[in-house]
């Protein structure tokens, strides 16, 4: 009710406005600060502790967990796999997503809303459900193998489940809608007349794309690339279900370590995951801005 009583307070009315502003935003800020920032600080504190099998968590101020991660070939391998897959999937999403985003932005059919909902629906049904779909398709007796054998392309079923390829195919499908929707909204805001102008000045479609559309869509491209990269880095369900128990990326590694009870190391890997994601997205955003700012 306090919300309603204070909404109409105009900016000019200084008296009491500070109080009502605080009353409006206070509860949400409290929930996020207490529920997110404090837990993350506690998690960071844990990452400086030590773990001993018999005594569980031993308080300390040490970087041992971080050093352990970066000096162990197994964990470094998990790290490289994660970054590699995230980069690859982001690149694939950009190439595959752009044509669909453009078509959706420029279509004049009355089915546009339905088409967009068909892109949003997979995004909303969750990663586990979509992984189930890929398991149906990629299994040794699944649809793709049945098709390959049926057409005589192979004699024996191809082992596709529990491979890095399956994880990549799955993550691209998971992240594509995010890329398509981000690009579509920015392309929609670009005036069609500039494309026509490029064409009437003699540019071919390829030239028009590189010289007009790409630079104008760049803010959306950067946003989409950053979003899909973050999602790729943090993928959990897809690597667990399509990669199998042997395949490890960083997010499943965090969960595994926490389950084993090694909280300090799990906390450290959490921070490595978060920091790497932030640093790489900040750098790529900066570089792309710089490269294309003319």
């Amino acid at each position: 009710m306090a919300a309603g009583a204070t909404t109409a307070v105009s900016v000019e009315e200084r008296g009491g406005s500070r109080l009502s502003a605080a009353a409006l935003i206070g509860p949400a800020t409290f929930i996020v600060a207490a529920g997110l920032l404090i837990p993350i600080l506690i998690l960071f504190r844990y990452s400086l502790d030590l773990y001993e099998a018999r005594r569980f968590v031993v308080e300390g101020y040490t970087l041992a967990n971080y050093i352990k991660f970066f000096s162990d070939d197994y964990y470094l391998g998990v790290f490289y796999t994660t970054v590699k897959i995230a980069l690859l999937c982001t690149f694939a999403c950009l190439i595959l997503g752009f044509p669909l985003a453009y078509a959706l932005a420029r279509t004049r059919t009355r089915f546009k809303n339905i088409l967009i909902m068909l892109v949003v629906l997979p995004l909303f049904v969750g990663n586990a459900v979509r992984a189930a779909g890929w398991m149906t398709l990629l299994g040794s007796r699944g649809m793709i193998n049945a098709g390959l054998i049926g057409f005589g392309i192979v004699d024996e079923p191809v082992e596709m489940m529990f491979t890095e390829g399956a994880v990549i195919v799955g993550i691209i499908a998971v992240n594509l809608p995010f890329m398509v929707l981000t690009l579509q909204s920015v392309i929609e805001s670009i005036d069609r007349a500039v494309e026509e102008a490029a064409f009437s000045l003699g540019a071919g479609p390829w030239h028009m794309f590189w010289r007009v559309l790409w630079p104008l869509a760049l803010p959306g491209i950067i946003a989409g690339v950053i979003l899909t990269f973050i999602l790729g880095m943090n993928a959990y369900a897809t690597p667990v279900l399509l990669g199998g128990p042997e395949f490890k990326m960083l997010a499943p590694l965090v969960f595994g370590q926490m389950q084993l009870g090694n909280w300090p190391f799990g906390a450290a890997v959490s921070f490595i995951l978060m920091t790497t994601t932030l640093v790489l997205t900040a750098t790529s955003g900066y570089l792309m801005h710089k490269r294309y700012r003319r």
């Binding site: 009710m1 919300a3 309603g4 204070t6 109409a8 307070v9 900016v11 500070r18 502003a21 409006l24 509860p27 949400a28 800020t29 929930i31 996020v32 600060a33 529920g35 837990p39 993350i40 506690i42 595959l96 997503g97 044509p99 669909l100 453009y102 078509a103 809303n113 967009i116 909902m117 892109v119 997979p122 909303f124 049904v125 969750g126 586990a128 459900v129 979509r130 189930a132 779909g133 398991m135 149906t136 299994g139 007796r141 649809m143 049945a146 499908a173 594509l176 809608p177 398509v180 071919g204 479609p205 943090n234 959990y236 369900a237 667990v240 997010a251 965090v254 969960f255 959490s270 978060m274």
Partner: protein, 277 residues
Amino acid sequence: MTGLMGLDRRVIGRWALTAAAALTMLYILLPLVSVIWLSFYRQEIPSFPPEGYSVHWYGVIAGNQRFVDGLLLSVQLGVSATAIGLAVGVPAALCLSRFRFPGREALNNVLLLPLMVPGVVLGTALYVFHVEAEIATGGNLPIIGSTLGLLSGHVLVVIPWIVRLVLASLAGFDRTLEEAAMNLGADRWTTFRRITMPGILPGVVAGAMFGFVASFGNLEMSLFLVGPGRTTLPIAILQYLEWKIDPSIAAVSVVQIVLIGAAMLITDRFVKISRVV
């Protein structure tokens, strides 16, 4: 001549573009189509082509307590988290759009933060926080694995969606309408109820839907927060799939697809989804 060739290239370009767009669409939808297909197989083993088709797996899952309980818990969590999210998120968005104060931009970012933090990190952080909180209260309050702990996590996930989408619809709202209402003698509460609320309703509905879906589908964070014997639907699906895939889990997936599709269609009646995503 060149003009004609230019036109040809444009026609070819358009066809290539449409084909590429259609392929990407197919790629996005393929897993959903295949899981729906699997749910109608007659035999249990998911080998293609199926021996026949049947709907009996839908009956099988209705008798599976794990899935039914998971669905109920997920719906309860989603509805409660969205309600709380609306109660705190809509006022917060109003404050951010109406007042200019130092630190406003920072506060805005703080409220969007739960979207930025990876689900696994969020889950880990909340888990250790719950453990610390239970230790701090002397173990008198059961926090670890409690429904309340799970709900507080889901509220966190919902808030950014509501703040973001309500804020977006407030940006396009004409404030002179409010002044007109007040000049005509309406008090602030009436003005909010009769003028502001209808104006920002599309953003509120969209925020509520996105928030609900974010909560309903949340997997990574919830994995850390569920208690023994109580799981949400996405976790139940994940754990089953880690063990095996068969038409019954496909049927569960289809139930989730239908529920979310229905939520989208209902929302679409209030606000065109193509305008808010």
